[in-house]
Amino acid sequence: MDLSLTPELREFREEVRTWFAEHLVGEFAAIRGEGFSWDDSFWDTRIAWDKELAADGWLCIGWPKAYGGRDASIDEQLIFQLEYARANAPYRGSVQGQDLLGPTLLHFGSEEIKQRFLPKIIAVEEHWGQGFSEPGAGSDLAGLRTKAVLEGDEWVIDGQKVWTSAGAHADWLYVLCRTDPEAPRHRGISMLLVPADQPGVDIRPIRNILGGAEFCEVFFSGARTASSMVVGDVNNGWAVAMGALGTERGTTMLAENLRVAGEVNQMIAEAQASGGAKRAVMRADLARAWSDAKVMEWNALRLMTAIKGVGGDPTAQASLGKVFASEAHKRMGEIAMRAEGPRSELVGNGYELDRLQQVFMSSRAESIFGGTTQIQYNVIAERMLGMPREPRRA
């Protein structure tokens, strides 16, 4: 990707930099770098930070102006993410709506749905939770069983979803439901928007390896939503969920991968403080972690280039980037523990973990969620290498 900037882009970068310098202060500066998509620590302050960004139009900058965005170009979005990482700002709180659902609504939502929901997302007034995976349908998402039946002008939903990130904070859920049980697996699914605060929706926390409960399971028993709350066409939810690979996917990946560089810097500081950096083996490991972080950053930039339409198939590039990032991040977690030495084993009284321990624990999930490494290998083999499709399952 060509990173030489035009005068206009340089001016844009200056504007962003100045904004961060003026606004990333006080309680926000105190939680620099905190939080992640799987980590809801400092939630209230992070939501306040989201609102700080929103007030000056720095959320979802690629969205059309009509829905509160800036119509920012891909280059501008790229610059924004680089500056965001440079400033080491807290991880945004309400990313489910901003990064995942919002772009889907832009592509597939009816005008009514866009008008109803996008301004609330961009104003950080409504939080979203995702209802995709089920106990029996994870990497094999098309096997989902949660069903929705139209009764009059309402959908009635029954079933169970799992791994709903930040589910405890959700006002609304976007839920994949089987709406035509007779159709082939991929064809009878719809994406419904369901209010979380109703008797038919029960959101329960699940304790994960970190000891926290950022993930939830969601039980639907006769939950209701209006018949118009379908994204895209009824029974076309699979295409909606898989979506066109939007710019946002690229910027999200870039944002996450850039954060990793910050983690490596922390490992280096840790190893220097503990004396571990004096050892050649530790230094070699840190050099590898740093190199991996660079590759992650470049993979994200390549994905941005692919999305601009000048560098190959973005889906394949995204798969490649994900496989590398999730495996590399696990290696980094291991090195982070070694950089800390034996105290890496100690946790707080309530199982509180420091940042590097979190990297070790949470990175273990990354080769599982969003399509396991094994699923990504299939995508790469089929889409990039032209290998035959996996034999039809019995």
């Binding site: 098309a142 304790r207 994960n208 034996p342 273990r364 080769s367 599982i368 396991t372």
Partner: protein, 386 residues
Amino acid sequence: MEQVELDEILDGVRRFVRQEVVPLEEQIDEADEIPAGIIEQAKEMGLYGFAIPEEYGGLGLSMYEEAQLVFELGWTTPSFRSLFGTNNGIAGHTLLEGGTEDQKRTYLPRLASGEWVASFGLTEPDAGSDPATMTTKAVRDGDDWLINGTKRYITNSPVADVVMVFARTSPEKPPAEGVSVFMVPTDSPGLSVGPKDKKMGQAGAWSADVILEDVRVPNSSMIGEQEGAGYVTAMRSLAHGRVHIAALCVGMAQRLVEESVQFALERRAGDTLIADFQLIQALLADSKTDTMAARALVLDVARKFDDRSDVKMGPATAKYFASEAVGRVADRAVQIHGGAGYMRGVAAERFYRDARLFRIYEGTSQIQQLVIARQLIKTARNTGGR
């Protein structure tokens, strides 16, 4: 020991571990405590002294026999083994390797029966697996010694009756000559035990700081009653401990392979059992191969430990390989379990957290690498090269 006698012990321990301890694993993890009934039964079965010779009240297993027993113990939460791990292992062996005949006769039977729990006090806040930077000091005062210092991550110290405390008795000498070891009762004035460490894994296995402030002990409490012998004793105890921990890792790896295979045979993706996916089969095969390689290495090293033909490099290779291998096996087990493997209440998740510690305690992987390489280089130099 006769094979039939050993088989009887192994059978009994296997049944006890699988029928009595495994069902309590989740409870132990949540409560960070092993139920008293399990502790009593472990004492009755002789588990507090399996590695202590019969003449001192133990079962007197050789390293080769002990390894087979520890494979069985490794099947469940490592906190179970930890209950009596220090009595048999690093603390008991300090007495066994370094003690006078009188000390061994007086104290080892108490360790072997579980009447006493003993801890091994080597690690310090700024001296981990390498004792060269140890700062705890013992100063002669008439017929006594006054000990000052802090020991860190001392396993079983919250329940210990005695701690084997390593201290510099000649600070001007290098550690190999200037460190001695004392058996210090935990009710000695000036000795205090800090709050239990909160660990990432291995809940139920307790460790804490041991703080010594002008703790007065008689000269007779010096192990071996020989000044400066502490370092050699520590190294010998650790060598035994390394084979022991390696065997424990093999046991856990065997359990994880079993958990992985069972899950793969229950879990469907679409209409296909995940056990039928080749990429899942590849993970299972790698884990089984790692486990068998580690098991074979441990048994081979144990035989050579018993005939004293290799008491240093072998134990280091076994501990290094087996602890890294169980880390890989646990990682694959989580991958095979998918999202469930990331959630509390699932054995693979718990073992993933438990396994991390094996690469750290009783000599980190990095220390084992140094031990192995230094032995190679020293041997080559001594034989004059080509």
